[in-house]
């Protein structure tokens, strides 16, 4: 399969993804493709709008008896829920231990990491079947639960959004949307054995960078990584090659340094 054929095949998968008929493992592959290809993102948005409109064709007149019955049931549940919510709020007042909140945040962070791993590990331009196998092996992570799906979708939403700010670097782009900052890179050189890429962040007004995530791109040099959820406070980001496990300060010449201005 040459590059042009492969790309055309991926564009067909974008259509299937927009319609919602793609199995999960292939959906992960397309997600990464869309994030790195502006034409694919545009195609996705257009076809997705067409797919969303399909729902209108199903609108049905509902007879007045059924409609009234459904509404009555619903409003009774709403009233019950509102009453239960009031009771719960009174019970909770001032008793939630701080460590419980911390546990929840840690779990959320772990889920975000698993999603990043899935997305960065799929191949966009290599052998499709091989990429699908690798993506399939990560399907279990995608199936971890609704929260994973939400984070995954949030990342794609941010990467393709028209209001996202993009800062070009030689290897791809740094993408910022709201407080979230991502590296969407597609031309990363291969790593020597025992090395990883490490992202660095520099808060505004700071004189030194701080360590962020480490990652390994796929065989095609592609990586999509969530770097920070506090982008508004950052003045610059950077990338360097570091020993596995990461470093506290850069130990090699930066792959890139990108001011966010």
């Amino acid at each position: 399969m040459n590059d042009a054929t492969s790309r055309e095949h991926m564009m067909e998968l974008v259509a299937l993804y927009a319609l919602g008929v793609l199995p999960r493992e292939e959906a992960a592959l397309v997600t990464a493709f869309i994030a790195n290809d502006s034409a694919a993102a545009e195609e996705y948005r257009a076809l997705r709008a067409g797919a969303d409109a399909l729902a209108f064709s199903a609108e049905e007149p509902v007879d007045s008896g059924r409609s009234a019955r459904m509404k009555e049931r619903l409003l009774a549940r709403v009233a019950h829920e509102a009453a239960a919510r009031g009771t719960t709020a009174r019970r909770r007042g001032g008793t939630t231990p701080g460590w419980l909140l911390g546990t929840g945040l840690a779990a959320a962070a772990a889920l975000v990491f698993s999603v990043v791993t899935v997305v960065q590990d799929v191949s966009l331009r290599g052998d499709l079947a091989q990429a699908q196998q690798r993506a399939a092996s990560l399907t279990a992570q995608l199936a971890e639960g609704e929260r994973v799906g939400q984070h995954d979708r949030q990342m794609v939403t941010d990467l393709v959004a028209s209001d996202a700010r993009r800062y070009d670097v030689a290897q791809g782009a740094v993408v910022v949307r709201g407080d979230r900052l991502y590296f969407a890179l597609s031309k990363l050189p291969g790593l020597p054995k025992g090395k990883v890429y490490q992202a660095w962040i520099m808060p505004k007004g700071a004189k030194a960078v701080q360590p962020s995530v480490t990652f390994v791109p796929n065989a095609d040099g592609i990586a999509v990584v969530a770097v920070s959820s506090d982008a508004a406070k950052l003045g610059a980001v950077a990338l360097s090659v570091e020993p596995e496990g990461g470093s506290k300060a850069p130990t090699s010449r930066p792959t890139f340094v990108r001011p966010l201005s």
């Binding site: 927009a18 793609l22 199995p23 997705r48 709008a49 409109a53 199903a58 609108e59 939403t157």
Partner: protein
Amino acid sequence: MDPVVRLMERVRARDVAAFESLYDSYHRLVFGISLRMLGDPMVAEDITQTVFMKVWTSPEAFRGGSFVAWVSRVARNRALDVLRSRGARPESEFPADLPLDGALDDEVLERLDAERVRDALSSLPAEQRAPIEMGFFGGVTHQEIARQTGTPLGTVKTRIRAGLRTLRNRLGEGVPK
């Protein structure tokens, strides 16, 4: 501000009247999607309840854009859950939260109606319309569509893409602003 977005802001503030107004406007759509996908009016009623309870209990889940597109997706996903629970149905991934800042914008989407979409859909060649409807309302993957229709997989992909493009273009034409 979009009237529906204003209503959702009031729902966030626990305004039952605003919630009732949303229900009155959109329950036929939610019920219709569920009925079309599941074929059982009682189950469709239950899904309609579930969807609107989500609107009431988690209004923050709607993060802007087209409300009608969002609520349709929620309904479809709930119906897919039921379909999956009924048997070993291949699991397809339906992207649920991406914004629609594409060419068929939110305002246009809000102004579409059932008749207009049905007209656009029926104008597609049958070989394009069938796999699109099977996929959207049947909750099956493209492989399953190919198997059920006896059509080569590559042909199914090409037809779905062409059909969706045509549909999007027809729906974008001449919609009143």
